[in-house]
């Protein structure tokens, strides 16, 4: 047994199982636990306004979705431009159930965890179907196939009466042990739910990458000829990547439907797909922690730009319409700057900071 498990120094592995651990030192484990605990207790200490709590919830939902996108685009190297549609599939699973059986039916209000998983499964099935072209197509051609799914999805929702032609379909309030979750607790309640989902998904994905199910994804990204020679079916591995990503997107969508108490097409458009892609790029493609940085950074930026635009709106003539132009402008600029100067995303800054603090006060 290692003599010192608190620091990296003197922390020797004597079995391979010890080396598989997610946290190599007790210190890492402690810091992570404290961080997690902070995330769980801060809403009890401060009260954030409903507007800001909604922003926080939005970031967390985006984290779940981007985690899924990162699996397919970052790790498996398959560009997906239809991710918002997968999120939409999850949301519309909940919404169409609510339309069929009534928005405050017991299944919607009491069995909401089941509904969330059902949303995920629906996303996974759609993911597998949309992933089928990956058996034949590669690179940009595959990206176009995912784009066409986005188009088909939007068209279907917009024109089918069953989906209320893209107008909001309502979903009822859910029940918890203490009774119905009311208006005042709504955002805080869902904050906790989404946080738990993220922790579960995060550890799940982390574990997956210690096993063949994760390594196979990276194998088809780096070299699918060799992956074939290693005994895996590269096409089916890609379909599996899409299904996995669809599952996480579907879960994010179901959470979205519950959080907004309804689903409408305006949250699942091509614009959102691009924005998920941007979050994945800014966070860092092919890194686990990038899925957390990206949504936080983009949403934070969005908020700041909105404030600036509002401020500028007071001084600029209104016909210049700066306020509306500023958002897409900064959004595009940030993506371009990241692609040019830091293609590995914020995750790379995190890596640099970590290695710096580890060796401090020495340089290397």
């Amino acid at each position: 047994m290692a003599s010192n498990r608190w620091l990296a120094t003197g922390n020797f592995f004597t079995t391979y199982q010890e080396e598989q651990r997610t946290f190599t030192t007790r210190l890492d484990q402690l810091i992570f636990s404290i961080f997690l605990l902070t995330l769980f207790i801060w809403p009890l200490l401060f009260e954030l306004s409903r507007t800001y709590m909604l922003v926080v919830d939005n970031i967390l939902i985006a984290v779940v979705a981007v985690l899924g996108l990162n699996l397919v685009t970052g790790f498996a190297g398959l560009i997906s431009i239809g991710h918002a549609a997968f999120v939409g599939v999850g949301a519309y699973t909940v919404a169409s159930c609510s339309r069929m059986i009534g928005d405050s039916h017991i299944i919607i209000t009491h069995l909401w965890p089941v509904m969330i998983i059902a949303g995920g499964l629906a996303g996974a099935v759609m993911g597998a179907i949309v992933g089928l072209p990956a058996l034949r197509l590669k690179h940009l051609y595959l990206a176009i196939a995912t784009l066409s799914f986005q188009m088909i999805f939007e068209w279907t929702i917009n024109f089918m009466a069953f989906f209320n032609q893209g107008q909001t379909i309502f979903v009822g309030r859910v029940m918890w042990l203490t009774g119905e979750v009311g208006r005042s607790d709504h955002y805080v309640f869902w904050y906790y739910v989404i946080l738990i989902v993220i922790v579960m998904c995060g550890f799940g994905v982390r574990n997956l990458f210690k096993t063949r199910y994760g390594r196979a994804l990276v194998a088809v990204r780096d070299n699918d000829r060799a992956a074939d020679a290693m005994g895996m079916h590269p096409g089916l591995t890609k379909v599996y990547a899409f299904a996995l990503s669809g599952f996480l997107a579907g879960v994010a969508g179901a959470l979205h439907a519950y959080l907004y108490r309804g689903a409408g097409i305006e949250s699942f458009t091509l614009h959102h797909s691009i924005s998920y892609l941007a979050m994945a790029i800014v966070g860092g493609l092919g890194t686990l922690n990038g899925s957390f940085w990206g949504p936080a950074a983009i949403q934070f930026l969005d908020l700041q730009v909105e404030n600036v635009a509002e401020l500028a709106g007071h001084y600029m003539p209104s016909n210049m319409n700066l306020a509306t132009a500023l958002r897409p402008l900064t959004f595009g600029l940030v993506i371009v700057l990241f692609l040019m100067f830091e293609p590995r995303g914020i995750a790379n800054w995190w890596r640099i900071v970590k290695s710096y603090t580890k060796t401090w006060p020495f340089r290397y």
């Binding site: 391979y16 063949r212 390594r215 070299n223 992956a227 092919g286």
Partner: protein
């Protein structure tokens, strides 16, 4: 004892015949080399055996099983592994992960066990790691275990390529020019590994190589291809005396 049987294989791309009626018997436990001038069809025949190409005509059978139309992943699960001529490694992964990947179809935990990574998945993965460490030890790759493959030198990458094929735990190992572009010292290393692979691990080796000195020294059987046709086969001494082979390599008088 015939082990891998290539009978009457023709491979054509449009009007071009890369292989014409090639017959080849590869015997168990030996080192068999396939040689020939550039464009003779050496890599094509390896591609046919490993399933990347399918012969236009003819059959390939291995230990009684027909693998003429099998896909690469089916063939690798039958115990035929292959190292590529142009490095086909997973460049974004470490040496360790590259080798762990080769064990893909040998790991028998399911998706949900992997998700939880407790009990079976964790145990199987650590056994898996022990197996890979054994190969790393055998191929003397210890210093590079954790480095990214893309950052390693060419010679080491070639070694990783052979190590990865070996990690598949094959009965038959196909090596496509494992010594191309190496210096004498590195070549000697690889030759030593090939001989150890055959002797210690009991693996049948099929070697495609241009360095005739090496081929003559270590091969038990040699097959010579020229313009897609088999022009000679036998022991190194027989092949060296074969008039057609001499003509193909040196030219006619």
């Amino acid at each position: 004892m015939t082990y891998l049987n290539v009978s009457d294989v023709t491979l054509s791309f449009g009007g071009l015949n890369a292989l014409t009626n090639v017959n080849m018997h590869i015997e168990k436990g030996l080192i068999t080399s396939i040689i020939g001038p550039n464009g003779a069809g050496k890599t094509s025949i390896l591609n046919c055996i490993s399933g990347f190409y399918h012969p236009t005509k003819g059959d390939i059978s291995y230990g009684g099983k027909n693998l003429t139309h099998a896909s690469p992943h089916e063939i690798s699960s039958m115990g035929i592994a292959r190292a590529f001529q142009n490095l086909e490694l997973f460049r974004g992964l470490s040496v360790l992960d590259n080798l762990l990947l080769a064990r893909h179809s040998k790991l028998d935990y399911n998706f949900f066990q992997a998700l939880v990574f407790w009990g079976k998945a964790s145990r199987v993965e650590s056994e898996n790691r022990a197996y890979v460490e054994d190969v790393i030890d055998f191929m003397e790759l210890e210093p590079y275990r954790k480095s990214l493959v893309g950052n390693l030198s060419y010679g080491v990458q070639k070694k990783v390529e052979v190590a990865r094929a070996l990690t598949l735990d094959p009965d038959l190992l196909l090596l496509d020019e494992p010594m191309a572009g190496m210096n004498v010292e590195e070549k000697e290393d690889i030759v030593r590994f090939i001989m150890d692979i055959q002797k210690e691990r009991g693996v049948t080796v099929v070697l495609v190589e241009h360095d005739l000195g090496v081929v003559m020294d270590i091969s038990d059987r040699i097959h010579v291809l020229d313009f897609g046709q088999l022009i000679g086969s036998g022991t190194p001494a027989e092949v060296a005396a074969n008039q057609k082979v001499i003509e193909a390599y040196i030219g006619e008088e």
